[in-house]
Symmetry: C2
Subunit: 130 residues, 2 copies
DNA sequence: AGGGAATATGCACGGGTAAGAATATGCAAG
DNA sequence: CTTGCATATTCTTACCCGTGCATATTCCCT
């Protein structure tokens, strides 16, 4: 992973928002959709872009794909993510994302599922969680 | 100047090298040419790109255009330049640029001119410096 | 005024990329 | 093995960008 590639990943707002959210822990695609309020294809493609360049890692969990920052990020990525964290502190979009994520977390804590429930679960919820 | 614009500026190697050099003080275009060993048009266009987005400022001094980092950079730019400085410390191209700049400086200290001498000066040197 | 030096700009071309619509894939439950 | 859900991929369109060639601009000196 080169420094240039890192900057190429950072120069799009959607990707910045994704990386910023991931700094607070892993997320699945449907949660990105809920928080960012962007179409699925857009989010999915930016996640693929980031994954191909090694800025995020993914794993599957049943229906869902869970994305996270690299477990062992290279020093350049680490430094730039820290810098990003500082820079966005005051920017409304990013604060909004953080807030929406917190509220989403609260909602999830109240119910059982780890990830979002399918649109028409019909009581499948519990089974899905296991 | 937005954060995205900063990252857009940072995602090209030539521009990274330019910004890295400017962290050590202002430079004219012909010095960039000597240090980076890239064609004039390439350097000039990248400098224009950076200037249009507010990452560098320029002033004219006789024959020469002198470029520098903004006198009062915004916090985001400041943070990212510091981050860049850390990140490139070990990268050969950037070390080479630093070395070449130091050697250029030594050469200039030995002679009088502030900037490089025209190709065929014919004794105009002293007059140019004043 | 005119020449020459340093630098900038216009034009052209190839390549990457962002976005959306449509479609495909992988998974789980019945 | 079919259905429904979450996610990925393909295709297309439009745009921006990096580069090089040629030319223009701006300045200094005579």
């Amino acid at each position: 992973m080169s420094l240039i590639q890192i900057y190429q990943c950072l120069c799009d707002e959607t990707r910045l928002r994704i990386l910023h959210l991931l700094q607070d822990g892993e997320l699945c695609v449907c949660h990105f959709q809920q928080i960012l309020e962007e179409p699925q294809v857009k989010i999915s493609k930016h996640l693929a872009y980031l994954r191909q360049r090694g800025l995020v890692e993914s794993r599957r969990d049943g229906y869902w794909m869970i994305y996270r920052l690299p477990v062992r990020p290279c020093p350049e990525l680490d430094a730039n993510l820290a810098c990003l964290h500082d820079c966005v502190r005051e920017i409304p979009v990013f604060r909004r994302d953080t807030d929406r994520r917190a509220r989403l977390r609260a909602r999830l804590a109240a119910t059982s599922p780890i990830c979002c429930t399918p649109a028409k679960p019909k009581g499948k919820k519990k089974a899905l969680v296991v």
